[in-house]
Amino acid sequence: MKYIDEYRNKDIVQYFAGQINIISTKHVRIMEVCGGHTVSIQKFGLPYLLPKTVELISGPGCPVCVTSREYIDRAVAYSRMEDVIITTYGDLIRVPGSTSTLEKEKASGADVRIVYSILDAMLIAKNNGLKKVIFLGIGFETTAPASAAGILKARTAGLKNFYVYSAHKVMPPAMEALIDDGVNIDGYIGPGHVSTITGQSIYMDIPKKYKMGVVISGFEPVDIMQSIHMLVQQIENNEPKVEIQYTRVVKPEGNVVAQQMLDEIFEYRADWWRGLGILKNSGLKIKKEYEMHDSEKMIEVEVEETIEPKGCICGLILRGEKKPKDCGLFGKSCTPADPVGACMVSSEGSCHASYLYNR
């Protein structure tokens, strides 16, 4: 497969493994922020190729995992309304809320539909004029521009029954919060697709304030091994900086059109992250000018009281302080088929990846 096989080349992966082995002297903890990286690392068995001095830890970069139970509870409450159709990316439907999931609501008759794009959700709205169609807007800077584009398009098209329920978040506040909280990290593998939108400037504070490097990485084994090599080199030479390994996709300035679209539709708000708590300016709220498409503003619903699960250490895992295997529920009462915490639900969650590839 062109453009993929080149980045799964065994010889090149082995070359970087060899180089890392040669230069690595200090014990380092490298956090991959993005869930896509977590999956690749486990799926290709990369930890097996690294020296004992290099430890990989997973961060808070799975959007499903960091989303609050309260958000799910509200989505569940919406789904119970007679005149509402919920449209969502597939990962979200099995995430446990306090007492239910969207999957369970669907089984009891709620109209919950999985879509691959917000455009599909808008089509559903167009074809169901008498229903309120709510799209669950989840994800970081990667998916937020698509939601923004959808809202813009809905307004232009006069699609009055289309709403977005935003849980969109931005990455840098979480990356800084982890360091502020004293989590032991020596360098970040930066999120490739988030950076495609934002460019590299959003990470510039990290080397400056915290003397810690960020290497923006692609998702194939060669990308990740090269990024680890670049980070280890930075750490060994004591030269923390922001570098882009994923140059075939990420431009230093990012995608300016997408950034403008985000600015047009969203404004920052304080938001709650599993494992990190409330971080200021970390969530994206739909601006007042577009509130006619904001379900939080336009659709009133009574939401049950949020109950957090007992014994689940998703929060500590998302902070990189514990590994999935440290959790008493892991693989016992919490499995992908019957998950307790969100990290076990999402295919990008570190518990899910660990369960599948590294038990």
Binding site: K10, G45, L49, V222, A337, Y357, R359
Partner: protein, 354 residues
């Protein structure tokens, strides 16, 4: 569409007085039911046992071991590149018998049809079943038809059960009790084709590919393999849940480990591409014409070359082996030189692929 245009457009062989659509009355047991049986099922499945139309098929058996299996088919869409629900219904049951070491002989076919279903499509499905059954050397000896109200089932569901004759020497194959470290693991070709062809055929994805389902009856290939070696210790068709599920089910609780070499797996370019796009792991994508065979290492090459003689085994390869270490676990040696566990798939990767 009038009856005549329908018949000339789609199925020139259709006989007179066939309806355009299936009605509730076709499942009533009355005149319409009899017409359907006479004009369609016995016409294509034609054989002396079925033609008796008695309450049970009465069949002569010569063996004291029979293999007996059943499977229901609810694939969506019912027609996909490389086959339809009828091909699946025959191949699925034939293969379940064959991998148990049995010689498939007789099938039953139960149809649950949604009111209003197109007769010509039903006829195409029945013809596919008849053709596949003939190729596989099995006889469809009994059947049933029910028609349900519109909306109470999705177009058509089919159940087939099958009986095969099991030679005493093959009785242990379905349990795999003779597997031991050193044995080799063979698969008769590429993985993931069926699941991805069905996925691509679903309209909502708006994807065009050239992926064709691998749906096929494997009993002749398996019979040849069994004739070529006495050391075949286990066989299973890698259907729902794919190769990964077969491997992890087999190794669970066993006193051996399994290792699979990723670079020995054949995964067609288009299948890999679609899997990448949708985030699926081809290891867990369904096949409908693939058998995993575990054979003593001294006979592995012999069995492999026998399988390769069949058109259904051209891409066969030895993909791994049974190991002494990491007991109870299956490991994948990844293409880039890493290692990871092969776990059982949890939840649904793809709904309604068979």
């Amino acid at each position: 569409m009038t009856m005549t245009t329908m018949t000339t457009m789609t199925t020139p062989t259709t006989i007179k007085n066939n309806p355009d659509k299936i009605l509730l009355g076709h499942g009533s047991g009355g005149k319409l039911s009899h017409d359907l049986i006479d004009n369609l099922f016995t016409k294509y499945f034609n054989n002396p046992i079925l033609n008796q139309q008695s309450d049970s098929a009465v069949i002569p058996m010569s063996s004291n071991h029979i293999a007996y299996t059943t499977d229901s088919f609810v694939v969506d869409p019912i027609f996909f590149p490389g086959g339809n629900i009828g091909n699946l219904a025959v191949a699925g049951t034939v293969n379940d018998l064959a991998v148990s070491g049995a010689e498939p002989k007789y099938l039953s076919a139960g149809f649950i049809i949604e009111e209003g279903f197109s007769f010509s499509q039903l006829e195409q499905i029945v013809i596919s079943m008849a053709v596949d059954a003939k190729k596989a050397g099995v006889t469809i000896v009994t059947g049933d038809t029910k028609v349900v109200d519109k909306g109470k089932c999705d177009k058509i569901f089919i159940n087939t059960s099958g009986i095969g004759i099991l030679d005493k020497k093959n009785v242990g194959i379905s349990s795999g009790s003779a597997i031991k470290p050193g044995d080799k693991i063979i698969i008769n070709g590429s993985i993931g084709d069926h699941g991805m062809s069905v996925m691509a055929a679903r309209n909502e994805l708006n994807i065009q590919t050239h992926i064709t389902s691998d749906c096929a009856c494997l009993n002749h290939l398996i019979a040849d393999a069994l004739k070529s070696s006495k050391l075949i210790k286990f066989m299973r068709d890698a259907t729902r849940g794919g190769l990964g599920t077969v491997i992890s089910e087999l190794v669970k609780g066993s006193d051996y480990g399994i290792q699979i070499d990723e670079d020995k797996l054949v995964i067609h370019e288009s299948v890999r591409g679609l899997c990448e796009l949708l985030g699926f792991d081809p290891l867990y994508v369904a096949n409908e014409g693939k058998v995993v065979i575990i054979v003593g290492s001294e006979d592995a090459e012999k069995v492999l070359s026998k399988i390769k003689e069949s058109p259904l085994g051209k891409e066969a390869s030895i993909i791994g082996s049974i190991s002494e270490d990491h007991k109870g676990k299956a490991w994948l040696n990844t293409g880039v030189g890493g290692k990871r566990v092969i776990e059982m798939l949890s939840g649904q990767q793809l709904p309604r692929i068979c």
